[in-house]
Amino acid sequence: MISPKYFREIPQRYRLEASRCKGCVELDDGVKITTQIVETDLNKLQIGQNVKLVFRRIQDDGKAGIHCYGYKAVVS
């Protein structure tokens, strides 16, 4: 998998981490997605770097106590 573009932003609703990075990622079969890039030193992240998808918690519905899961990317 390739991460062609990335950025960091101050989180609004999604407060599971203090700082977040998201990017467009192209999968091996050509499908492209937007995803969070986690467990990574953001200062070293490069366009074109290889990443792999992992299964993670995306957000919480606090009052109802429901956890929402999905994919995120980590540098492979």
Partner: protein, 383 residues
């Protein structure tokens, strides 16, 4: 199809209009436009609004605003195309007049964004909820990805992004309707708080309240009412994938380049024939990319062009956003596309005061929604 003209305009000041409701704002702009045009009736009206439901809990704007304007029972239609709602409202009115269905039509736009709704969340509804927003994406985030890609591919510099905001604030300082009428420096932009790397606060258009309206009619009718009608030379609209990641390139907005191609063909004009333009600078990077995709500059050269003053009011070969743009004039989403038309109208009539472009005969307005999934371009010409 009939030839169509704009014969009057009206707008509120853009900004935080605490003492005015969405109805007050729209009615003020619409009454000014009707008075300015000197017409005794309108046959139909359109109102562009992106998200009045989320911002103020009010839908059904067509009938509501026709009611408060005292215009029932005319047909009144609310148009939604995210941040392009105003531009599309104008295009719908243009098509209705051109078709011969109506004689005099009002095209308006309004947004009331400062009433307490979570604006970032409301605006994010213009992106793909399942595949972009669920991942925590916001609009500053999407345009930050575009900026990163442009900086990576074309070596566009951070200072060049800042130059867009500096220029637009300089223009906006001369616009009595602008939300921010203060000039800013490159250093101030670079030191403003980080929103989504590399975009900082002063790269981003503000949250605004405001309304704008224009009156359109056929050229035959216009010539009986005024000596100085402004001709609508052409109008086109395009769409692209809603999600940024689905596109083959992040550094070209295909909806914009396709619309440009179509409008130059429709009007038999070339980019060099355009005297000045209002473009959708929701974020500084957007103006740079759009100025390239409209054919004003080669791909990758938009950043250098703004830095060198090629788009400035004072020295530019193609002045861009003489009104102050979304950045300085303000961005009440649904009103923005109409306010662009009003700037074209004032310039083409030679009534833009300190912002006047010399020899302004043909002006282009480009308005887009989302991360460029909707685009509308209108070209107006002095008769």
């Amino acid at each position: 199809m009939k030839e169509v003209a704009v014969i009057g305009t009206g707008m509120t000041r853009f900004g935080e209009l605490w003492n005015k409701s969405i109805k007050d704002i729209f009615v003020e702009a619409a009454l000014k436009a009707i008075k300015d045009a000197g017409v005794d009736h309108i046959d139909s009206m359109y109102v562009g609004s992106m998200s009045s439901g989320l911002f103020v809990g009010q839908e059904h704007l067509g009938a509501l605003l026709a009611d408060y304007l005292g215009m029932n029972p005319i047909p009144a239609t609310r148009v939604e195309s995210a941040c392009a709602s105003g531009g599309v409202s104008f295009r719908q009115a243009y098509l209705e007049v051109a078709s011969g269905q109506s004689e005099v039509v009002l095209a308006g736009g309004v947004e009331k964004m400062t009433d307490g709704a979570d604006v970032t969340d409301a605006l994010a509804t213009a992106a793909d909820q399942e595949y972009e927003v669920y991942q925590g994406i916001t609009f500053p985030g999407l345009y930050a990805m575009i900026a990163n890609a442009h900086m990576h591919q074309y070596k566009t510099k951070r200072e060049q992004l800042a130059a867009v905001a500096v220029k637009n604030h300089r223009n906006g300082s001369k616009n009595p309707y602008a939300q921010f009428r203060s000039e800013i420096t490159v250093e101030q932009v670079l030191k403003s708080s980080l929103v989504a790397d590399p975009l900082r606060l002063l790269d981003c258009s503000p949250v605004s309240d405001g309304g704008a309206a224009v009156i359109l009619c056929s050229m035959d009718v216009a010539k009986k009412i005024t000596d100085t009608p402004i001709h609508v030379r052409g109008s086109v609209q395009t769409s692209d994938t809603i999600a940024l990641h689905s596109r083959s390139s992040l550094t070209t907005l295909k909806a914009v380049s396709t619309a440009a191609e179509k409008i130059y063909k429709m009007t038999n004009l070339k980019p060099q024939d355009i005297d000045f333009a209002e473009v959708h600078d929701c974020f500084s990077i957007a103006e740079i990319i759009v100025s390239e995709d409209l054919g004003f500059f080669d791909k990758g050269c938009g950043g250098a062009a703004v830095e060198e003053g090629s788009t400035s009011l004072e020295t530019g070969k193609i002045p861009i956003n003489t009104s102050g743009g979304l950045k300085s004039k303000g961005h009440p989403v649904g009103a923005t596309g109409i306010a662009q038309i009003i700037e074209l109208y004032e310039q083409l009539q030679g009534k833009a005061g300190k912002r006047q472009v010399k020899n302004a005969n043909i002006g282009l307005a480009q308005n887009m929604g989302g991360s460029g999934a909707s685009c509308v371009i209108n070209i107006l010409e002095a008769v």
